[in-house]
């Protein structure tokens, strides 16, 4: 255990709009043991608590009422989410439109399915509320060694408060892509369990392309097996309050996790991701990269990236970073990278966070080639976000996301 908490919090506050270019940049790398228990608490030293030692329960009543002072809720507009956090949720089946390829199967299973609870247990009250409420879980099963795929479109959830549960089960040596394509109105609290069997290669994309008023609180729990690879992508563009928190455990020896995120917050939109990557097994490799753009009064994004390298995770290679591009006054980007290391024998670990305006040198370069400033700015924003999209590796989805980014840019230009 370490003795030196290291807290990094970067934001452009609505009350103190950033005037500079790059507001602050924190980078760190090294093998020095370091522990940051609760970086969202800004009041000096905080009790040392390892990130995986938080209270967890599937029972909503086991959590005290949410006050907004909790580490996990501190930066979230909880008043907007009151019914999702502890109100009554409809946990019945809902309408989906699904397409599958290569033998992927989609079914509904009961609460007694043995997979439920094996990827993770809720650590906040909204997740526990969803868990307590769901009647049936949606199961996506990928088997065999040939490429498989499943796209689940949820567009008819409507304004009723719902609790949902999804299991994505990729068996040993399977290879597939699962897209959760979320559109329309929604008032949804949900948990998604992701099981990546030994040697499997799974990509999961959660696309929040919700209608304007939608509210969505999701926790994704993933367990990644020996020599398996999970690429987990969170794309948040639409909705009024959207919070998608992935917790990924690289459990098996040699497990590999790419955790990607891209978001674009418009006026009054709150987009949040609290990312937890736990290197449990030895020789695991983790890369976390989230990028976002903010534009318009009251646009707020939150990224908290926790990386824990456990005592058995020797030979680990880990890096996490978050970058935000601020396009107007009146926005706020919270970006908090945390790194805990419990073994001295790692290959590398680092984190970086930067929130800033346009890079003037990029604008100059483009303008020096005749490109007018407005087009150059768009090109830079598009490129900034596209560098994540390019890593998704699903061509048809990339086309759709480029179009969505284009639409966001059109919207912000008007």
């Amino acid at each position: 255990m370490a003795d030196k908490p290291e807290i990094a919090s970067l934001s452009t506050d609505a009350a103190h709009p950033a005037r500079g270019d790059t507001i602050e940049e924190v980078t760190g790398t090294g093998t020095r043991p370091a522990i940051i228990a609760d970086a969202t608490s800004g009041h000096g030293y905080v009790p040392v608590q390892t990130r995986n030692a938080r209270f967890s329960s599937t029972d909503v009543t086991a959590f005290p009422p949410v006050t907004g002072r909790e580490a996990t809720w501190k930066l979230t507009p909880i008043a907007d989410l009151a019914d999702l956090i502890d109100g009554e949720l409809d946990g019945t089946r809902y309408e989906i439109a699904a397409t599958t390829s290569g033998g992927a199967e989609i079914t509904w299973v009961g609460r007694d399915d043995e997979r439920i609870g094996t990827a993770g247990i809720p650590e906040d009250k909204a997740a526990a509320n969803a868990w307590s409420s769901f009647r049936e879980a949606l199961l996506v099963r990928l088997t065999g060694e040939e490429p498989t795929g499943a796209t689940i479109v949820r567009s008819g959830l409507g304004g009723i408060a719902r609790g949902a549960h999804t299991i994505i089960d990729a068996s040993r040596f399977s290879k597939g892509v699962v897209v959760l394509d979320n559109r329309g109105d929604a008032h949804l609290a949900e948990n998604v369990e992701i099981l990546v069997g030994d040697g499997a290669d799974l990509t999961v994309v959660s696309l929040q392309d919700w209608a304007d008023g939608a509210k969505h609180v999701a926790n994704h729990f993933a367990q990644v097996g020996r020599d398996a690879h999970l690429k987990h992508v969170v794309v948040s563009f639409g909705g009024s309050v959207v919070r998608v928190n992935p917790s990924v455990t690289l459990a098996g020896s040699g497990a590999d996790g790419d955790l990607l995120g891209v978001y674009f917050a418009d006026a009054a939109q709150h987009l949040e991701s609290q990312v937890f990557l736990f290197h449990k097994g030895d020789h695991t490799k983790g890369r976390v990269e989230y990028r976002g753009a903010l534009q318009g009064e009251g646009a707020h994004t939150v990224w908290i990236g926790d990386v824990l390298i456990g005592p058995d995770a020797t030979g680990t290679d880990s890096y996490e970073q978050n970058r935000n591009l601020v396009l107007s006054e009146g926005t706020r980007a919270d970006s908090v990278p945390n790194l805990e290391i419990e073994t001295g024998d790692i290959a590398g670990a680092g984190h970086a966070s930067a929130t800033g305006r346009f890079d003037d040198e990029q604008l100059f370069y483009l303008q020096a080639r005749g490109i007018p400033e407005e087009i150059a700015r768009r090109l830079v924003v598009r490129g900034f976000l596209s560098s994540i999209v390019q890593k998704i590796g699903v061509p048809e989805l990339e086309v759709r996301l480029h179009e969505a980014i284009e639409a966001e840019l059109e919207g912000s230009a008007s």
Binding site: Y365, I371, R382, S387
Partner: protein
């Protein structure tokens, strides 16, 4: 026939220590088809001249003028200067993450010409120029300057020069960091651009090496922010033998 005329140009930059004058009265005129080499020691203001012509906001023009066929270049924005026919090949080209070379080139060509290039001809032009610069075809799908080696960045600058067809090109230490093979390839690209159009070139360099491949019509020795001596190609040979010491000592004595 065009002329780029720089007269009595004074330029300063803001530093933590206050305003620092860099250019102290530069006079230079380039006509179409001519190649002018600007040579000088480190810190003499060569790059400042290049960036001031292109309009980089860091450089403040205190007095003097830059005119392109009589038009006031200093009154133009950076992109207007490029559209007027000025091109700067940068010493340190900037990475643009997420923007592919092909997208960038097409966007720039469209901006310069005012209309999008016809697809078929454009694709062919790009391919031919890339082949001539020994650039692999996968280059087009890479992000602008991202992960490029030093030599790749310079070839990419010259690729733009060939495709955008400016009237005047400022090459800012394009030779720096290149091995001799890459230097030849880049020089051939500049010479092709000169042959295919009536390009005027302002070649800024620290070394005489590149002048073996790109023949200058005029050589200007730049010291302490102004032109210390001018001459023909023979001046470069003299610099090769004698270096800049003579000029630097003279500038220090007169300062």
């Amino acid at each position: 026939m065009s002329t780029l005329a720089i007269s009595d140009l004074h330029v300063s930059i803001e530093t933590d220590q206050g305003t620092k004058p860099i250019l102290r009265g530069v006079d230079l005129a380039i006509s179409s088809g001519e190649t002018h080499a600007v040579m000088g020691p480190n810190g003499s203001g060569k790059s400042t001249l290049a960036y001031t012509i292109a309009g980089h906001p860091r450089y403040k023009v205190d007095s003097g003028s830059i005119r392109l066929d009589g038009q006031d270049v200093l009154a133009m924005t950076v992109d207007e200067r490029a559209r007027a026919g000025l091109f700067l090949a940068m010493q340190y080209p900037v990475e643009i993450p997420g923007v592919t070379v092909s997208n960038f080139l097409r966007t720039a060509k469209t901006a310069i010409d005012g209309t999008a290039p016809a697809i078929r001809g454009w694709v062919k032009d790009v391919r031919q120029s890339m082949e001539a610069l020994r650039m692999d075809s996968t280059f087009a799908e890479r992000n602008v300057n991202e992960g490029f080696s030093g030599g790749e960045k310079k070839r990419h600058e010259i690729l733009q020069l060939e495709l955008l067809k400016p009237r005047f090109a400022v090459l800012d230490e394009t030779d720096s960091g290149l091995d001799v093979d890459a230097l030849k390839i880049v020089s051939e690209g500049v010479n092709r651009a000169k042959e295919s159009s009536d390009l005027g070139v302002l070649l800024i360099t620290h070394y005489t090496r590149i002048l073996r491949y790109i023949k200058p019509d005029f050589v200007h020795v730049f010291v302490a922010g102004r032109v210390a001596e001018e001459g023909g190609p023979e001046l470069a040979d003299r610099l090769e033998d004698e270096g800049y010491d003579r000029y630097v000592a003279a500038a220090a004595a007169s300062a």
